[in-house]
Amino acid sequence: MDNYLKYRFLEHTADIAVEVRGETLEELFGNSAQAWLETVLGGDFIPYINDVKDVTLRELSSEELLVGFLSELNYLLFVHRWIPARISGLTIEKDNDELFLIARLEGEEFSVERHSLKEEIKAVTFHNMNIVQKGNEFVTRIVFDI
């Protein structure tokens, strides 16, 4: 799947909206993370992976889980100055009423000499977010408040 099919940016007057697809829920989350990365660091960012971090999250709905996951990436970048550049081993499992996510993030320290931030995302919002299964793929919209 090339980038165009994984996600595409939509026209939005004040903020940044993106439509994301994935064959599985896990892939949808991974592609959403890529769209987030392109938003904050630009499409030509080439990572230099030298570190890993693990993330676990538990939420009631897939939308809350996706907002929580992307917010986690945003937090790592804007507070810890660490770029979560790649995702490996992302799994989402049902656990009673909840969804449980485990992900391994690969990345590097943010450095002002080598990187430049394109946008500051204030928050990942719930606006228009509705994860639906269409045929054999999952689709959602995400709006980043900038």
Binding site: T13, A14, E64, G68, Y75, V79, K122, A123, H127
Partner: protein
């Protein structure tokens, strides 16, 4: 007329009403002109959001919107709603992510004309002294989490106590720069972390610091009381609570989403998540939101000090020669407990103002004594190439809009469209030609924020003026801008 499928009836040239329908608890009312409905509102979901807000439990009188109405998260930008303290709710969607985003107008006692040639240098110094842009940090030494809690409790009094301003500055700040019921303990750790190195930073997007000249006076007597005169050099600061505020909103949206099902609310948009004002969740949000508001007042206070430093450096003047002082600091993203007239009775309500400025009338108890006879100054920034306005609150605002008015111009073009229109143009040269010096991080910011990307703020201001909600006092013209 029908706008986006919603019936909108004319009450007067400046006021239109959405009749109550389906599960709306009150009607909607929008202050706007026919032209603005036809050119902007027609293709905007914002009108649907005015309807959505009317569903909030305990909403009083009307779901209101100001003429700079445009689409926002949950509430529209320009939305105002007051809710009952006993039966009503508080919603972070009615405040926004940038808690206490606001504007501070400080004046010098200097005339612009003799200093005209030194404005580019002034802008350069301001850009050096005030960190701007994406993830801006380090205006002052990074504070410790303990110190941050003091900031969250004390608001701009922290800055003043640490040498970034004088006591008089607090007197001329809405709520004296400190909401007393702020609860720093209710601010989660991540929010504290996000703010530690951001005290005194402008940030990015539409935030700015501007050097303006007072170009026109509409109300001579009021302008004199405000301390404004034609040809005067003034400074306008627009920013908010930075990452700390965004995180407080984000954290509490999650808390209140869970509360929604607990209290059995059914709302048309998840971004309208809310809890009863008096509930544990509602009180916790209000406490944390007030702490974030205090952070923002402190932030603008520190930036004002850095502006003063830049003025002194550039003009080689002592503080006394500069006469730099605060006219007023207003907040345009907040929820506050205020007393208003509801059906002929005084009643305490929770007023949400999201992209709306408080506009208290002459005689109001909560405004500086100096402005007792004029009403409070209401500061309305425009885009960086045209003008901004200073207005004054009126009794009509108290009667009709819970003492609220508009807050700015609002975008007309998306950032993407603006970038397309800026292609091949030298925007810095265009602004210089109009007598405006600019410093920003790169072409992209300037392109995204270029004047034509915004609506004409004069249209917005004229609606409020003609409706008698706030009256025009002075017009400011930008001569220097720093952007994120």
């Amino acid at each position: 007329m029908l706008v986006n499928g919603i019936e909108l009836n004319k009450i007067s040239d400046e006021l239109w009403e959405i009749p109550r329908h389906k599960e709306m608890r009150v009607p909607g009312r929008i202050y706007i002109s026919r032209d603005m409905i036809e050119s902007g509102l027609q293709n905007d979901e914002a009108i649907n959001q005015v309807v959505n807000v009317a569903h909030l439990p305990g909403i009083q009188k009307y779901s209101l919107a100001m003429p700079d109405i445009h689409w926002g998260y949950g509430f529209p930008i320009g939305g105002v709603a007051a809710t009952d303290l006993n039966e009503g709710v508080v919603s972070p969607g009615g405040v926004g992510y940038d808690i206490n985003c606001g504007v501070r107008l400080a004046a010098t006692s200097l005339e612009f004309k003799p200093l005209e040639k030194r404005i580019p240098k002034l802008v350069e110094n301001m850009f050096k002294n005030v960190p701007t842009g994406v993830g801006a940090s380090g205006a002052i030494k990074k504070v410790s989490p303990q110190e941050m809690k003091r900031i969250l409790r004390q608001g701009s009094h922290w800055a003043i106590g640490n040498g970034f301003g004088s006591d008089a500055d607090a007197d001329f700040t809405e709520e004296s720069g400190m909401l007393k019921n702020a609860d720093p303990e209710g601010v989660f750790e991540r929010a504290i972390e996000r703010g530690l190195d951001q005290v005194g930073t402008l940030g990015s997007g539409n935030h700015f610091m501007e050097v303006d000249v007072v170009e026109e006076i509409f109300e001579e007597t009021v302008a004199r009381v405000f301390g404004l005169f034609k040809g005067q050099l003034v400074v306008l600061i627009h920013t908010g609570s930075r990452g700390l505020g965004y995180q407080v909103c984000d954290d509490y949206l999650k808390v209140l989403l869970k509360a929604e099902s607990k209290y059995g609310f059914r709302l048309p948009d998840r971004q309208l998540a809310c809890a009863p004002v008096r509930s544990d969740e509602g009180q916790r949000y209000l406490g944390a939101m007030q702490a974030a508001a205090n952070f923002a007042w402190n932030n603008r206070q520190v930036i004002m000090h850095l502006a003063k430093k830049s003025l002194m450096e550039t003009f080689n003047m002592q503080e006394s020669e500069l006469g730099f002082h605060l006219i007023y600091d207003v907040c345009h993203n907040i929820a506050k407990i205020e007393e208003h007239d509801i059906d002929g009775k005084k009643k305490k309500v929770c007023v949400h103002r999201k992209g709306a400025t408080r506009a208290f009338a002459p005689g109001s108890s909560n405004i500086p004594l100096k402005y007792k006879d004029t009403g409070q100054p209401v500061i309305i920034p425009g885009d960086m190439g045209r003008y901004s306005y200073v207005m004054a609150g009126t009794q009509k605002a108290m009667m009709e809009t819970f003492g609220s008015s508009c807050h700015g111009a609002g975008r007309m073009q998306s950032r993407h469209q603006a970038l397309k229109h800026a292609k091949g143009r030298d925007l810095v040269a265009e602004l210089n030609k109009k007598g405006i010096s600019i410093q920003a991080h790169g072409h992209k910011t300037i392109a995204e924020e270029m004047p034509e990307a915004y609506k004409d703020v004069a249209d917005v201001v004229n609606v409020m003026h003609n409706a008698g909600i706030t009256l025009k006092v002075a017009k400011l013209r930008p001569v220097g801008v720093i952007k994120g």
